[in-house]
Structures are given as structure tokens and as C-alpha cells.
Symmetry: C3
Subunit: 130 residues, 3 copies
């Protein structure tokens, strides 16, 4: 289950650093990402990579660095090669030359599967409260 | 010690989702919870469950979703079946339709014991600075 | 790799509690700490201890408790006895009698080595965005 913490760490640093392909590689090749912050889900490596590229390009354009802060991870086995995981994701923004501020907190609910390359996210649903 | 991270994840998602019995079940049946945010300690499964029910009912009534964000966990063995754990707990609030904001940061100091059902909290003391 | 999470937990609670020698002991005896928040790096146990003492004395003087919140840890082996680790570090401040607030978010990039006493930080570089 430590592998899930590790996957999340790698994933956040990838998207925040603009390494879009590395972010997409934390999903399966048919992986799905659904978030109320975006109008459409992204499905499959090509769409996921394009999503992460757009995300980072928007940060660069706006001049606000964003950090995906992951915490409070709860993992449960749903089969020998399947896990579900629930965690909190805080988006912290730092406009250039200004103070950091919490933009939003969400709950991520992931279905993970074991692959030859390690655990990967088959489906992520992002939930917002409030 | 990963079991403690897991217990904390499960615990936070339980109280934030209004699953009061699940939250109380992360304590031993004689478990104790003391926090300067509340006038009285809660002791034993019935009181702990009632505490979590009141907590969630107050969130629903106020229209502000609360998230218990756990991080920075430091676990030390104090015996073959006993641990102490210190962690940071941030309470993040999201009033309906508004931005999220950090309400407070506290330090939790837990005594944990191994039970047939896994590690459980025998005593939690919440500390506030500032 | 769980050992790195544990090291970070112990380290944050040490500096936030004013236990300067315990903080310095999470580095090797020739360990190095570089941060853009401070004009000079600190190198070796004596300088690291003095750094942590000054940090805590400044908190006491200002009346603002600071918490080093660690999250989103990504660890990779670079050799049998060497790791690199990247994580987010949020500094949360609580002025006496006031609300808590996020002061800044940084990325820490650590080189760790295995020692007889466990994993220790040989070099930490703190990065700031924005």
C-alpha cells in the first residue's frame, strides 16, 4: 500500500513540473480521469497527456505555480490485483512574487490495478464538497 | 507503521463523510479523545460515536464541509503491541459555494495498541499552538 | 521507503518543538541544508543545530508558532545505500490567539544515505516557485 503513496508523490511532482507524459503514465493505457473542475473526462494515454500539457501551459501563462498536495490516503484491497484508494488533494497556488494560498480541497477516489510496471490508476473520480 | 498512516486515512474520511461508527471504531472500545476545541473528553465507543455524529451534524447545519487533513506522521514503538504517534492535523473548511480555507492546525498525540482487529487508538490528545 | 516518511515526520516535529539537536541529527554529520529563505547554507551538525535554534528562537520572539507540514513524498533509489526524495513542505503559521495561515509552499529535494543509525539526509535543497 506504500506503493500507492509513492505513486501519488510521483504523479503530483510530474504534473506540477510539466512532465505530462510521466503524469499520464501513472494511469493505465485506458485510464480515465473525471473531475468537476473540467467539462469532459480524459480517457487513455493520449488524452491524459494532453490534459496534463494544457494544465501546465495554463499555469505558465497565468504566472501562478500550482502544487498538488496529497494527504490522508486510505487504501483497501478489492482483489488480488486491485485496490481502491481515497485521498485528499489540495491545490495550492503561488502567483509569481506573491504568497501561497489554498485554492481548493478535493477528494480523489481511485481504482488501481497491478500491472507489470507496478500499480496504475484505472479510474480517478475527483469529488468536491462545499 | 504504515498501518498507522492507513488508520489515519480511514479515520479522517469516516468523520468527514458522517460515518460516525466507523470513526469511533478507530479507537479501542475504552478509547479516549481529548481536544481543547471541545469542553469535555469523549471516552468509550458510545461517546466517541456521539461526538462524531455531533461533529458532522454541525457541518451539515452550517453548510461548511470540513476535511481532516493528516500529515507529517512520526511513529515510535513503546512496546511489542504499543505505539505512540504524533502527526499534524489541519482542519480545512469549504463553505458551500465558497473557497476552501485553513481553519486551524493542531498536533495529535496518540497512544495506539495492537488489537485482533489491527492497531487502534487508546488515547488521543489534541494540542493547539498559537 | 517508509523510513523516509518516518524521518520527515520526526524531523518536522523536532524543529517545530525547538529540539534543535534532534533536527540536526536527521542529517549526516557533514549534511548540508540550502534554502532560498536563508542567505547561507548550513553544513555539518554544529551549523545545522545552530540553524534550528535560531529558527525556533525567532518563532518564540515573534509569538507565531510554525509547523513544517510534509506531504506528497516521492522516493527513488539511486544505489544500494542511497535515495533521492522529493516532497512538498508547507510552512503554516499560527500567531498567538489568531487563525492559522499558510505562509509558503516549497519543494524539498533530498539526497539520503543509509547509515548505521538509519537513513540520513546528506544534502537538502529547498526550491520555491512563484
Amino acid at each position: 500500500m506504500l506503493a500507492v503513496h509513492q505513486l501519488y508523490g510521483r504523479q503530483s511532482h510530474a504534473i506540477d513540473s510539466g512532465r505530462a507524459a510521466d503524469w499520464a503514465a501513472t494511469f493505465t493505457s485506458d485510464g480515465e480521469f473525471r473531475s468537476p473542475s473540467y467539462p469532459e473526462p480524459s480517457t487513455g494515454t493520449a488524452e491524459l497527456t494532453a490534459f496534463a500539457e494544457r494544465f501546465h501551459a495554463a499555469c505558465v501563462e497565468s504566472g501562478e505555480a500550482l502544487h498538488h498536495v496529497i494527504s490522508t490516503v486510505d487504501v483497501a484491497a478489492t482483489g488480488p490485483d486491485a485496490l481502491t484508494s481515497t485521498a485528499y488533494l489540495q491545490i495550492v497556488g503561488t502567483p509569481r512574487g506573491e504568497s501561497s494560498r489554498l485554492l481548493r480541497i478535493t477528494t480523489i477516489v481511485d481504482e488501481l490495478v497491478r500491472t507489470p510496471g507496478g500499480w496504475r490508476i484505472r479510474r480517478r473520480v475527483v469529488l468536491r464538497d462545499g
